[in-house]
């Protein structure tokens, strides 16, 4: 009897929760296909004739360029993050040295910094170096911010590779760097993919540094482009929704592909405690 009650409650809550969670996303995507007239209609239109006009318009006004910028910045940042963090993770996993644990915690502290605190001085440093409005500064900053978490994730994966496999290779005269590249990394490939996915999402989504260090110029990233559309008093909602939809599509795709791994990565560290 009691179990029945729990079941009923569960089902009721699930029925209530799903629309609460999915409706806003559904509303964004459908609004992107409405005409500017339909988007703001009172009462809201649930049935309408879809149009691609918003996508065409928003992409032609700098949107396509911003999309390309974001892809470039994300690809380069993730590559740099993976190089830097694989090296560090291998080191933390395989070498025993004084201060290792303290150093690992110190590195993770970087992630806890409120971005605005480093963003201000970085703005002035970057402008004195002439790096403002460049992709390079964003790539470097994103790598710095994501390397700590990536290192921790990668270390947890490398820890699972038995040392014996590596030792066999070291007899063949492989250096540590060769072992990492040819033996360890191929073995932890799923872990590499999880780490890359999580870092890509963070980098793709980032807004504060992007708006500050690059702003609304030709090199602007996609989230900045989205933000620009809702800046003024009269907002072209259809366009804003089209851009919003484009920015979340890759994430939804990733979610569908690797959701189970994602959960592991996102709850990482907390579970260890």
């Amino acid at each position: 009897m009691k179990m029945k009650l729990v079941e009923v409650l569960r089902t009721l809550l699930a029925i209530f929760l799903l629309p609460t969670y999915l409706f806003p996303i559904y509303w964004l995507i459908t609004s992107a296909f409405k005409t500017e007239y339909d988007v703001v209609s009172i009462p809201p239109k649930f049935i309408f004739s879809p149009t691609l006009e918003n996508f065409k318009r928003s992409l032609s006004f700098g949107g396509a360029r911003a999309l390309l910028n974001s892809v470039i910045v994300t690809l380069f940042s993730v590559s740099l993050v993976m190089i830097v963090s694989s090296l560090a993770a291998y080191c933390f996993s395989r070498f025993k040295f004084k201060g290792r644990e303290t150093l690992m915690l110190d590195i993770l502290t970087v992630r806890m910094f409120p971005p605005i605190v480093t963003a201000l001085p970085l703005y002035f440093i970057a402008s004195s170096l002439g790096l403002i409005n460049s992709h390079l500064i964003l790539i470097l900053v994103y790598s710095m911010f994501n390397a700590p978490l990536a290192t921790w994730l990668m270390k947890s994966f490398i820890d699972e590779v038995p040392l014996e496999i590596e030792e066999a290779a070291s007899i063949d005269g492989c250096s540590h760097l060769e072992r990492l590249r040819h033996i360890v990394l191929p073995l932890v490939l799923p872990g590499v993919i999880v780490t890359m996915t999580i870092c890509s999402i963070f980098i793709w989504n980032e807004f504060l540094y992007a708006t500050l260090l690059v702003g609304g110029g030709p090199n602007k990233t996609f989230p900045v482009q989205v933000a620009l559309t809702v800046k003024h008093k009269s907002i072209a909602w259809g366009e804003a929704c089209a851009l919003g939809t484009i920015s979340i599509l890759p994430i939804l795709a990733i979610f569908i592909l690797v959701r189970n791994y994602l959960v592991r990565g996102l709850t990482f560290g907390i579970l260890k405690a």
């Binding site: 969670y21 605190v117 939809t245 920015s247």
Partner: protein
């Protein structure tokens, strides 16, 4: 000697990144926090000692931002924690439907915050927004969600609760699933009710994950920026002008660099303090 040098070489890239883009900027801002330095008079940088720091507690705008940030954090946690815990208990089951729901409600967490801002800003519009339409169906009058100071606060809390309750849910669910089965069964055989079971056995066992989840959320809530910037931009009348937005404005709109640097350091100090507590409690094992 070679053995000692090797670990350092592997760590060199990450340390170089962190020092040049993380630590150095911090000290840069520490340095400027002792100077009067504004864009209006960029040629004159004058040393002012700690007066930037002394100015902070007497600054009305800071007091406003500080109390708003605390209030916002408290509201969000007060809603996210009970909801997250409730969902975790209800969805702690391996049925197929439940696992599907579980993975769907984590989607908001990974969505682009700016896009989330656009979604809710549109839904909260007073004229054509779907939220006023829905409350109209229930028979309530339309509300100026983003035009009224207290309603704007409600709106940004709703956004955060929607996006981040799944985070608490996910952590608590994982810790519930990691609980050992024996003590629970033993207690049940001894005739403990479900409530007693929860209150005296389960709750003490998941105390640690609860504290860690709450502290991590606190850090995130205190540094919130993205969706607020889109939905309300700190308004109306500074009603949602949280610390990050306030420092952003001071530094990059008014270019009061010395003062913004001092603010940053106080802000960092508060957050580091919370982070240290988190680490201490979590006792993260390497």
């Amino acid at each position: 000697m070679r053995v000692k040098l090797l670990p350092f070489l592997f760590l060199l890239p990450i340390l170089a990144l962190i020092f040049s883009l993380g630590i150095y900027p911090l000290f840069f801002s520490l340095y400027y926090s002792f100077f009067q330095y504004t864009i209006h008079d960029i040629t004159r940088i004058s040393f002012v000692g700690v007066s930037n720091y002394i100015r902070i507690p007497f600054d009305n705008l800071f007091q406003n931002s500080f109390s708003l940030s605390i209030l916002y954090t408290a509201f969000c946690l007060a809603l996210e924690f009970p909801l997250g815990l409730g969902f975790a208990i209800l969805f702690n089951s391996e049925r197929k439907v439940i696992t599907a729901i579980r993975s769907i409600i984590i989607v908001p967490m990974i969505l682009t915050p700016v896009a989330v801002g656009v979604i809710w800003k549109m839904m909260f519009q007073s004229e054509f927004g779907i939220i006023n339409y829905i409350i109209g169906k229930i028979g309530l009058p339309p509300q100026p969600w983003l035009g009224d100071p207290s309603l704007a606060m409600v709106a940004v809390v709703v956004v955060d609760v929607w996006q981040w309750t799944p985070f608490i849910f996910l952590i608590l669910l994982a810790s519930l699933q990691g609980l050992p089965k024996e003590p629970l069964e033993a207690a049940r055989i001894d005739g403990a009710s479900s409530f007693q079971l929860f209150r005296h056995i389960i709750l003490p066992m998941i105390k640690l994950p609860i504290i860690v989840a709450l502290l991590l959320r606190t850090i995130d809530l205190l540094r919130i920026f993205d969706h607020i910037y889109i939905v309300t931009r700190g308004g109306p009348a500074l009603a949602t002008d949280f610390l990050s937005l306030f420092i952003y404005r001071t530094g990059l709109k008014f270019f009061d660099i010395g003062y913004a640097s001092a603010l940053s350091w106080i802000y960092l100090f508060i957050l580091t303090f919370i982070a240290i507590i988190t680490f201490k409690i979590a006792k993260i094992k390497i």
